[in-house]
Subunit: 147 residues, 2 copies
DNA sequence: TTGTTATTTGCAACTTTGTTGCAAAAGGCG
DNA sequence: CGCCTTTTGCAACAAAGTTGCAAATAACAA
């Protein structure tokens, strides 16, 4: 059933159904947080680095995935939720990076608030990265014994 | 007079007044946009790459500069405006990246709006990068002849 | 099922950026 | 000046990104 979804997705974007592409989309669907190229290389180590690199580039151009900013200079990626096109990414939601587990997740339920720029500036889009402690790490922390 | 400011700044943070550090702060003060390490290497090419790298690290730790996220995976830096300390950066303003000239500037007059996270998430800080067309490029664009 | 063609992949090679150890150079201070 | 600590430059390496090209493979139609 998930395999069907993946094939459908690739066909929608006029992409050939290759093993690598299917596996990469599989990773994005399984993982509940944004994935970097190095992450992908570890998870799918039977594919060449360059192939994964080009797969990400293709998916990015088509609007299948979007960039997720990170404070380490490492670019992460996540599946686009709505229907983004080659020319415009429509997902203006908040990204949350946990300082404990280092995972970054898309918070689809919280959208980027409207920003009023000074005169003379034209708004195109925005990326908002919130740092803090995630639900899971919060729970762990609360349950740990007092020092 | 600017030289005095620079010396003062370094002394405030208990740092030795070296040529490299003074030049790096000079670059940050002159430039009206965020600067990456490669930018710095071009502007101050008589210093070793590693020295510039370590200077940025030192300034970042002390709270003299702050990171400016970029959508290319390249980290940029800018002077801290308020008084940031080693342990907390207090500049929660919007960063604006122009898609024409590729410059990123700090917009100190616009602060990052408050974000309400879902239950279980703890907020620490946030980075907001707005992309669009800057004041200068906007003017150029408007004055160019119609196609 | 097989052949044809355009696309995709893997490999090699290279560039750029980030990072560390160590000895020489330079800053702060009496 | 002279001492001591910090900073710098060099060498060397690690990690990430990028390109060209030939071999492999997906799509499609005979
Ligand atoms: Mn997202
Ligand atoms: Mn700033
Ligand atoms: Zn976490
Ligand atoms: Zn501009």
């Amino acid at each position: 059933m998930t395999a069907d979804n993946i094939n459908m997705l690739l066909k929608t974007f006029n992409l050939r159904l290759t093993e690598c592409r299917k596996d990469v989309i599989g990773v994005f669907m399984e993982q509940h947080h944004a994935v970097s190229q190095p992450d992908l290389e570890l998870l799918l180590n039977h594919y060449d680095r360059v192939t994964l690199y080009r797969t990400l580039t293709t998916f990015l151009n088509k609007g299948i995935i979007h960039k997720v900013l990170d404070d380490t200079g490492l670019t992460k990626y996540a599946l686009c939720s709505g229907h983004c096109t080659e020319h415009h990414h429509a997902d203006e939601h908040v990204h949350f990076k946990c300082v404990k587990c280092e995972n970054t997740i898309c918070i689809d339920t919280v959208s980027v608030p409207a920003i009023t720029l000074p005169d003379g500036f034209t708004y195109l889009d925005a990326s908002l990265l919130v740092r803090g402690i995630c639900k899971i790490c919060q729970t762990k922390y609360n349950h740990s014994p007092a020092i």
